[in-house]
Symmetry: C2
Subunit: 109 residues, 2 copies
DNA sequence: CACACTACTTCGCGATGCGAAGTAGTGTCA
DNA sequence: TGACACTACTTCGCATCGCGAAGTAGTGTG
């Protein structure tokens, strides 16, 4: 029961959320998520997720050369991505509140 | 992004929670979880999870014959199980609130 | 020149939820 | 009697997905 398993299916949502207000490239999103509290997120997971979201048609991408390091592959939410963010945000909240009920439950006679 | 993926790692917790107030057998726990809102939980998943929790030393088990059907394999939380329920409940809450922050985030300047 | 940091990719593994199928016991309904 | 449905559990193999490790490559620092 480490956070690894909890992340399953949620990392998509987390990446979409991290892109809501601003485009970002992989390494940066990794930092955003870790800063936000998902400290144990692996780098390969984030890169993989971004690629998956892109393949699913939820993100657009463009490469920007950097003078202080390798090029950066930026990702941005497209309309489908925003819709999906909305949608899975709701699914998540529903799920989370169901779990909270379960955990709070105590002879609900 | 169906609930299947969200369940990963949480089903353990859900089963432990379902056993908190009362012993139960697989089929019954399946119903408890579905009634609680986890409508899409598969039966094999629950049986498998219970076996896993048992093998992990978190549950005890005993078989009770039934006059209205096949025998029932009851499971009960032991002290280790209760401890684990506490522990992963906290992990879950922490994780959930991190996610909520992420989803709520909006140029937190 | 070794090292560290940034930035991304590829590879294969492991955990876990799931559907499908099978086995069995009971009851219902034609 | 035979078909079916519900209960109750098991086994099997699949698919998803996060991860660590390794590799490549660019930049800057001691």
């Amino acid at each position: 029961m480490d956070t690894t398993q909890l992340l399953k299916g949620v990392l998509d949502l987390a990446c979409l959320a991290a892109l809501r207000d601003e485009d970002g490239y992989g390494y940066d999103i990794l930092r955003r998520l870790r800063t936000a509290g998902l400290t144990e997120v692996g780098d390969a997971s984030v890169y993989g997720t971004l690629r998956r979201l892109f393949n699913a048609g939820l993100l657009t991408t463009y490469v920007v050369p950097s003078d202080e390091g390798p090029h950066r592959k930026y990702y941005a939410l497209n309309p489908a991505g925003r819709a999906e963010l909305q949608r899975s945000g709701k699914v998540w909240h529903g799920f989370a509140s169901t779990m909270d009920d379960l955990l709070r439950e105590r002879e609900t006679a």
